[in-house]
């Protein structure tokens, strides 16, 4: 049965690694639903967050193939109930439609969105939440004319009590420094 999984991948910052990782998906004809890459809390270590729909045995193999890449430090997969995640969406509407009716303001309030920028011509609204929530706001704003709508990839944080990576890295370094003769 297909299920949504979030993969977290920690890697070195090396050129071409993103390509190596996405090839692993495309070769198995798996579609990447969302992808975010940025530096992690550990300096020099990069974090990929990838969302994919597939069966659990697929994702298990996927993670092992990803971890097999030389520049990947660790890769994990988590099911939806093991993570908290957010996406950010931005909507550009004509400022006139905001001013002409107070309905738009009501929508912004109800959806816990906020106004980022307001000019004579346009207004930019921002909302964070799950995809379904940001989508819903889009549907609500649509009748008032949305000039642009953008949504980020997912950022996710685990519900685990411990951060594995930093202790993992520390152990690695410790073991490596141990003299072999000892």
């Amino acid at each position: 049965m297909n299920q949504e999984f979030t993969l977290t991948i920690f890697s070195e910052n090396s050129i071409g690694l993103l390509n190596r990782i996405t090839i692993i998906f495309t070769r198995r004809k798996l579609n990447i639903e969302s992808l975010t890459v940025s530096e992690s809390a550990i300096k020099g270590v990069f974090k990929f967050t990838i969302v994919v729909n597939c069966e659990e045995h697929n994702v298990k193999n996927l993670v092992k193939q990803i971890e097999k890449q030389i520049d990947v430090i660790r890769a994990f997969y988590l099911s939806s109930d093991e993570i908290l995640h957010q996406e950010i969406a931005m909507y550009k509407i004509k400022t006139s439609s905001l001013l002409e009716s107070n309905l738009v303001e009501g929508i912004i309030r109800r959806y816990n969105a906020r106004i980022l920028e307001l000019t004579k011509e346009y207004t930019v609204i921002e909302k964070t939440g799950h995809k379904a929530e940001t989508q819903e706001l889009f549907e609500q704003l649509k009748p008032y004319g949305v000039l642009q709508f953008v949504r980020s990839g997912r950022v996710a944080i685990t519900r685990l009590k411990k951060e594995h990576l930093s202790s993992y890295l520390e152990n690695l370094e410790k073991e490596h420094r141990q003299p072999v003769e000892a």
Partner: protein
């Protein structure tokens, strides 16, 4: 004590010297112990080729007749010697000509370091002359690849390349170097790589895994072990032998596992897979414990997966975590280099013997001999058979030769009938099944093992794919022995057409040049054998000849390889080939 510390100082002392990127590359290779390189020059790699002249004493460069020949030669060299194979190619078409060999080496875990020239760094991404995105092209088929655009990156890139190619589960690495990086000067120093924090080549052996596996082994009544190339790659032949002897377990080999244990070992029951032996294939579905050792349950081994040993508990000795449960779910994975895990499990297993269980294999062998092998190997009349040729070769070699094959029926016959005494004596393209592999791979093996008899066995089709390497063989006076089994067909495909496509022989009849005359034009000796009565003597002449020799043997046009597990069938649904006779 004193000498020890002095030595240590020597190795850690970094000598710094100003030199060009090309010099640095060659110095790095020398430090890594390289003395043979296969390659082909061209524009982007010219600075490196120029410098080769200055290192003639240390590095011999073998100019092949095609880059594909260079990389297959590097593969043959690596498989025969256990050292990494090195090849050079220029940018664009030179590099793309390597691709088949890189893919082949990736599938068969062969350690290679491929150096490709690249256009000047300022031309990258401009569709410059002979610019190909080599890193992009080879990404899915390399263990690691890297583009060098500055001379000073060369030592570290090369050090990493060797470490990655050779450690853990080996594989091919590509280093793409821009022309300016080869030409620019920098302060060179070299440090071998032995650690990359994001890369764990050998998972640490976990004793509980060993114990769990040992428990299954000790409880088993009908165990069967399938040996793969991992044993050879891990230099674990001795450990395997000790394990096999103590456990008493019947063993079988995958295509690439051959020669890891002499095939006259009393517990050796044959080969598994599509054209494997009846015994181990059928018994796979009768054993109560199946042990994979350094193998990866390829679909040519398993047949249809759902019907592969469903009754058996399974153990998997494997170095690559990604192979565990990839295809076959196992009860007891044993992660680690088999050299360590096999050695460690020895203390946990009881000595045992399985005479009755082994006798069942023996009965299968007899049946196979009577229904398949007898007529193949000792036919009463008609044209020469491929299996028969291998048997005559065995009589000559006594198993003391390196055999490199191409891909097709002759490959399967070689697998079924070749005898091996020593390890690393069997070189064939397994995972990719690359026609054209055999001749250049044999050539590379001969460069690596100049004192060994190296025999290449090809079909008339595959030989024509890379036969330009006759030029390399002749020029270098290699004493390579070449057998071409000529059936005037692309035999293996023809066999499938016969069995599964109503004998519609679409594009499988193939014509050939006069191979002996062709070889003669390179001043290589040889002869054609048409008749059974002259085969043995001709084989002996080839064996005794000083230099290279080609033996073209005209074999039956429509011979078939059996036994066979048809695609999509269970391994126990073997056909003998005599069913409709």
């Amino acid at each position: 004590m004193e000498t020890l510390t002095i030595e240590k100082e020597k190795t850690t002392e970094k000598k710094i010297q100003s030199m060009t990127g090309s010099d640095a590359l060659l110095q790095s290779l020398i430090t890594e112990g390289v003395s043979t390189v296969f390659g082909y020059p061209g524009g982007a790699i010219m600075p490196l080729y120029d410098k080769l002249l200055d290192y003639k004493k240390e590095i011999s460069h073998i100019l092949t007749r095609h880059e594909q020949g260079a990389i297959h030669a590097a593969q043959g060299f690596a498989r025969a010697t256990g050292k990494p194979g090195i090849c050079f190619a220029t940018s664009g078409p030179g590099a793309t000509n390597l691709v088949t060999g890189i893919a082949d080496a990736y599938m068969d875990s062969t350690p290679l370091v491929c150096i490709t020239g690249q256009v000047f760094s300022h031309l990258l991404g401009t569709d410059g002359f002979q610019e190909t995105d080599v890193v992009g092209v080879t990404m899915p088929i390399t263990k690691w690849n890297f583009q060098v655009t500055k001379a000073e990156e060369i030592p570290e890139a090369i050090a990493k390349a060797f470490y990655i190619a050779c450690s853990g589960r080996p594989g091919p690495v590509v280093i793409d170097i821009t022309k300016d990086a080869m030409m620019n000067t920098f302060d060179y120093s070299y440090e071998k790589c032995s650690y990359i924090r994001s890369y764990i080549p050998e998972p640490r052996v976990k004793t509980p895994q060993i114990e769990a596996a040992a428990k299954l082994i000790n409880e088993a009544k009908k165990p069967l072990a399938v040996i793969g190339q991992g044993v050879i790659l891990g230099n674990a032949e001795k450990e395997l032998l000790a394990f096999v002897n103590k456990s008493g377990i019947p063993i079988a080999s995958t295509l690439l596992g051959l020669s890891s244990i002499p095939n006259n070992h009393p517990q050796f029951t044959g080969r598994v897979g599509m054209h494997g032996n009846i015994g181990p294939n059928i018994k796979t579905n009768e054993c109560d414990l199946l042990i994979g050792i350094g193998m990866r349950f390829d679909d040519r081994v398993t047949g249809v997966v759902s019907k592969y040993a469903p009754q058996a508990k399974k153990i998997h000795f494997e170095i690559d975590k990604a192979e565990i449960n990839k295809i076959i779910k196992v009860d007891a994975p044993v992660l680690g280099n088999v050299k360590e895990t096999l050695a460690q499990i020895l203390d946990f297993i009881q000595p045992d013997q399985y005479p009755e269980w082994l006798a069942e294999f023996e009965a299968c062998s007899k049946e196979e001999y009577n229904r398949v092998a007898k007529e193949e190997v000792h036919p009463s009349d008609g044209k020469i058979n491929m299996g028969e040729v291998i048997e005559v070769l065995n009589q000559q070699s006594k198993g003391d030769a390196i055999i490199a094959t191409d891909v097709g029926q002759h490959q399967m016959f070689s697998m079924l009938y070749c005898k091996f005494k020593d390890t690393r004596a069997w070189i064939t393209s397994g995972g990719l099944g690359t026609m054209g592999f055999g001749l250049p791979a044999a050539m590379g093996a001969q460069f690596g093992c100049p004192d060994k008899k190296v025999i290449s066995i090809s079909g008339d089709g595959g030989f024509q794919m890379t036969m330009q390497e006759l030029g390399t063989i002749a020029y270098n006076k290699l004493p390579l022995k070449m057998i071409v089994l000529n059936n005037n067909f692309l035999g293996m495909v023809r066999q499938w057409q016969e069995l599964f496509f109503d004998e519609r022989y679409s594009n499988t009849p193939i014509s050939s040049p006069d191979f002996v005359a062709l070889a003669a034009s390179y001043k290589i000796k040889g002869e054609t054998v048409n008749d059974r009565s002259t085969l043995k003597d001709a084989m002996e002449r080839m064996w005794r000849s000083e230099g290279a020799y080609i033996l073209e043997i005209k074999v039956a046009a429509k011979g078939n390889v059996f036994p066979m597990v048809p695609a999509g069938a269970s391994v126990s649904d073997v056909i003998y080939g005599d069913e409709h006779k």
